[in-house]
């Protein structure tokens, strides 16, 4: 098992370095990358400053060396300064990350706590009315653009009913401000969980050992929970890591709609301002976080399902 994990770690590091290569290449697609590193100014820039930036980006050296030096900086924790704010990239990300992590975890829990039980419920009630309602919800949930959903929620719950604030994170721990962004963000994952859990559950319920347990006369509820669910949990567990990761895509939109001060908003701001160091930093930090999550998943897998072989 140690060898298995070691191999996974090596693969993760290689993937991360290749991801850096992709990010680096994007900055060189248009030729001179300085346009991405120097902020917009309306009357041009002093030639001396321009040259200085050339030196700072090692533009006098061959491109592979440029990449190596850039990657070296990043590996030692130097992500450079944001173009627009002149602040360290890591510092900015560190500042915004907690807001996104809070929102992300709440949405993730919400999605899981709603989606998984409903999936189980749907599977054990297969074919009846509620099953169809839930499957309809799952399909619909995966079919609406979330920015539209978010705007409709603002219109209904903030503007019309006045129950919830329209946006922003509010002051201190404002739980009401979390409601709409978290629900909108959890919408898509909840639908995915429902579908996946239902399918996995049905497969297990159909399998020999559950039929056997049922034939032995074990009551319905224990069959559902003890035998079926424990085995059905693996696919949703896999999904959960991808959901957590995929929440970034969601936060980019949701944080823009709700004026939420997190990484998603930061990414969009950086994009609008063509703030390349910040964009690169975000992409790499996310990549690293995902590698870590996948590694943890591998370990949990190994503990949960002894059938997995390590090769």
């Amino acid at each position: 098992m140690g060898q298995f994990i070691a191999r996974r770690v090596v693969l993760g590091i290689i993937a991360l370095m290749l991801a850096m290569l992709i990010v680096f290449s994007l900055s060189r697609v248009k030729g001179d990358p300085r346009y991405f590193f120097i902020g917009e100014d309306s009357l041009g820039i002093d030639p001396a400053v321009w040259e200085e930036w050339g030196r700072r980006l090692n533009l006098d050296k061959p491109v592979p060396i440029q990449f190596a030096l850039w990657m070296g900086d990043i590996l030692t924790g130097d992500f450079g300064d944001s173009v627009t704010t002149q602040r360290g990239v890591l510092e900015i990300i560190g500042e915004k990350a907690p807001n996104t992590i809070q929102l992300g975890i709440i949405a993730w829990l919400l999605g899981t706590l709603v989606g998984v039980p409903l999936g189980v419920f749907s599977a054990t009630n297969r074919g009846n009315f509620l099953d169809y309602v839930l499957r309809g919800f799952a399909l619909f949930g995966q079919s609406v653009p979330i920015f539209w959903l978010a705007l409709v929620m603002i219109f209904v719950f903030a503007v019309n009913l006045g129950w919830l604030p329209s946006g922003t994170k509010g002051e201190g721990l404002a739980i009401r401000n979390f409601v709409m962004p978290a629900v909108a963000l959890a919408w898509f994952p909840a639908a995915s969980y429902l579908r996946i859990t239902r399918t996995a559950m049905l497969e297990i319920l159909d399998s020999e050992f559950v039929k056997f347990a049922r034939a032995k006369g074990v009551a319905q509820a224990p069959v559902r929970w003890k035998h079926a669910f424990r085995n059905a949990i693996i696919p949703p567990l896999t999904l959960s890591v991808f959901v957590l990761f995929g929440l970034l895509n969601g936060t980019i939109i949701i944080e823009t709609v709700f004026a939420w001060p997190g990484l998603g908003r930061l990414a969009i701001d950086a994009l609008w301002a063509t703030d390349y160091p910040l964009l690169a930093g975000l992409a790499i930090i996310y990549g690293a976080a995902f590698v870590v999550m996948i590694l943890s998943l591998d370990i949990v897998y190994a503990l949960l399902d002894p059938r997995i072989k390590y090769n």
């Binding site: 993937a15 609406v144 975000l282 992409a283 996310y286």
Partner: protein, 232 residues
């Protein structure tokens, strides 16, 4: 402001500039569907080819391909797509490219896995003994075995690509004007949700319906291909 609610000649009402919503939806369908199908098609063809080669030959080629697929998968997708649009300039072609980029790694993984299991089957071994070239084996013997799963994935993925295009439109990086697209219709009409809800509701519903149809179709196709996956 001139929003007209539904009337006889404007079945679904008109938008802020007095344009017929139904006409726009129909016109938007052409571009949206074209872009999405082109993107999914390109992504699937490229992904299948790479997956086939990677799985069949294995070794160093396989290693390189899979590491790049890994690398792509750990990057935050929407952000990277937006950066690519920024760098490549916004156009229909760029959009098709980025949406295709989204589809290919998934196809590579699937096709590679299928290829790995198929290439050791007896009939493949027999073909090799009979002197068939690698290309012939891949095209005639392995490809038919993977094509089903590819079509299922493509059908299921189409809905996600439409939604992605809508999200990109919302962020201003979708199908560029003046071509009408569903995503941009919702995006542009969002400020009238309170005053004229239908202008964004109908394109939203159309997207939802098309995505749902894609999912239904995908489910149905999957059940046909592999009855054990049937959702019962």
């Amino acid at each position: 402001m001139e929003d007209e609610n539904a009337s006889i000649s404007y079945f679904l009402g008109t938008d802020a500039l007095g344009r017929d919503i139904l006409s726009k939806i129909i016109a938007g369908a052409r571009v949206t569907v074209l872009v999405v199908l082109a993107a999914v098609g390109t992504g699937i063809i490229v992904g299948t080819t790479i997956g086939l080669v990677s799985g069949y030959f294995g070794g160093i080629i396989d290693d390189i391909v899979m590491r790049f697929v890994d690398a792509w998968n750990i990057l935050p997708g929407l952000l990277i797509i937006l950066v690519i649009v920024l760098v490549l300039e916004q156009s229909l072609e760029t959009l098709i490219i980025v949406l295709a980029i989204v589809s290919w790694p998934g196809a590579v993984r699937l096709v590679r896995a299928e290829t790995l299991s198929l290439k050791n089957r007896e009939y493949v071994a027999l073909a090799r003994v009979a002197g068939a070239s690698n290309a012939r084996i891949m095209i005639r013997h392995i490809l038919p075995g993977v094509v089903n799963i590819v079509i299922v994935t493509a059908t299921l993925g189409t809905g996600n690509i439409i939604l992605l295009e809508a999200s990109l439109s919302y962020l201003g990086a979708g199908i560029p004007p003046p071509e009408p697209s569903w995503g941009r219709m919702i995006s542009e009409e969002r400020q009238y949700i309170d005053a004229a809800w239908w202008t964004s509701l109908f394109p939203g519903l159309v997207i939802a319906m098309v995505v749902m149809s894609g999912n239904f179709l995908g489910d149905w196709f999957r059940d046909r291909v592999d009855p054990t996956l049937r959702q019962l």
